[in-house]
């Protein structure tokens, strides 16, 4: 199945250690969508039918088929053997032969771009925002950013404001998706590390309310879209990084 799709609508976008991020081309394309839909199981097809508009149907089919292709390749299973369960807040997990597998993944889409991120045995989240869309910064910033983040946005020049906004938004959303809570967590309660706000591509972060878990935040955006991943670090690695070892 993977070889059938290679060179098609998804491709490897980023890889570091056990972290893999696949880019999905979400441009309207009837043939691709029909092929993607054929890869989904009955439960997924039911979900696809329940979407009320073409865009979310397309996003779901193309991203879910890409997710299936990569998972089958990594897990060494067939498409028909692969199923999905759902954890708290609806976060899905992979199941093969009735057993939940320690292979985490997360999906995000915006405009023409979808990203599917994978990691073995640790939680992760991903967010992508198409730069061709104009974010409503005034409406959103107060609800999701802390005082320092908002002050930095206000101080940013016109040409940098949208870039900074999307950098902060994607990192925060990647974090709450990695935690599995989504927006049931008040994201204005915490601020991103100052180094990341100022443009560092990688940093370590502990949520103030859940300090036992340590997250690596990484800006993986490019010219076409802003994007970030957040993934769980083990304690030993986290302590090394917080002590100043190179990321």
């Amino acid at each position: 199945m993977l070889s059938e799709a290679a060179g098609s609508w998804f491709r490897l976008f980023y890889e570091s250690g056990d972290i893999i991020v696949t880019h999905v081309d979400l441009a309207p394309h009837a043939q691709r969508e029909a092929r993607a839909l054929a890869w989904l199981d009955d439960t997924e097809k039911d979900r696809w039918r329940r979407f009320r508009f073409d865009r979310p149907r397309r996003e779901f089919a193309l991203c879910r088929a890409a997710l299936r292709a990569v998972l089958c390749h990594r897990l060494g299973c067939t498409n028909t053997e692969l199923a999905f369960g759902a954890a708290a807040y609806g976060k899905p997990f992979a199941v093969v032969g009735g057993t939940a597998l320690p292979f985490n993944f997360n999906v995000s889409h915006s405009g023409r771009h979808g990203l599917v991120a994978f990691a073995r045995g640790r939680r992760l989240g991903v967010d992508v925002e198409d730069r061709s869309r104009s974010p409503d910064i005034g409406a959103v910033a107060g609800a999701v950013f802390g005082p320092n983040e908002q002050a930095e946005l206000r101080a940013a020049g016109v040409s940098q404001k949208a870039r900074l906004f999307l950098r902060l938004w994607t990192q925060k959303e990647a974090l709450i998706k990695a935690c599995g809570t989504g927006f049931s967590m008040d994201v204005s309660e915490f601020e991103l590390p100052e180094t990341m706000r100022r443009g560092m591509r990688k940093g370590v972060f502990r949520l103030p309310r859940v300090p036992n878990f340590v997250w690596c935040l990484e800006n993986i955006g490019c010219a076409d879209f802003a994007a970030a991943i957040a993934y769980e670090l083990d304690q030993r690695r986290a302590l090394q990084l917080e002590a100043g070892h190179v990321l």
Binding site: F53, R55, H109, S110, A139, V140, A143, F183
Partner: protein, 76 residues
């Protein structure tokens, strides 16, 4: 004065581009609204009704009907 449902329906149409009022009862997961548009929409609703609706509160709404019920119970 317009009902809460009419006001929410107008805001849904203006900010999310959804014109079919029957979809006020659809599950939010079926609408495909992205999170950033959702947060901006809540801000607009909050301004229109003079209330704050935090994203973490809205995360518990299964449909626009739940939002309408919340506003009917909480908006002056």
């Amino acid at each position: 004065m317009a009902s809460v449902e009419d006001r929410v329906g107008s805001l849904v149409e203006k900010h999310l581009g959804i014109t079919d009022r029957a979809l006020l009862d659809a599950h939010t997961s079926e609408l495909g609204v992205n999170s950033m548009d959702g947060v901006a929409f809540l801000k607009a609703v909050g301004q229109d009704f003079g209330v704050d609706i935090a994203p973490e509160v809205a995360a518990g709404f299964a449909s626009m009907r739940d939002l309408i019920n919340h506003l009917e119970a909480n908006a002056g």
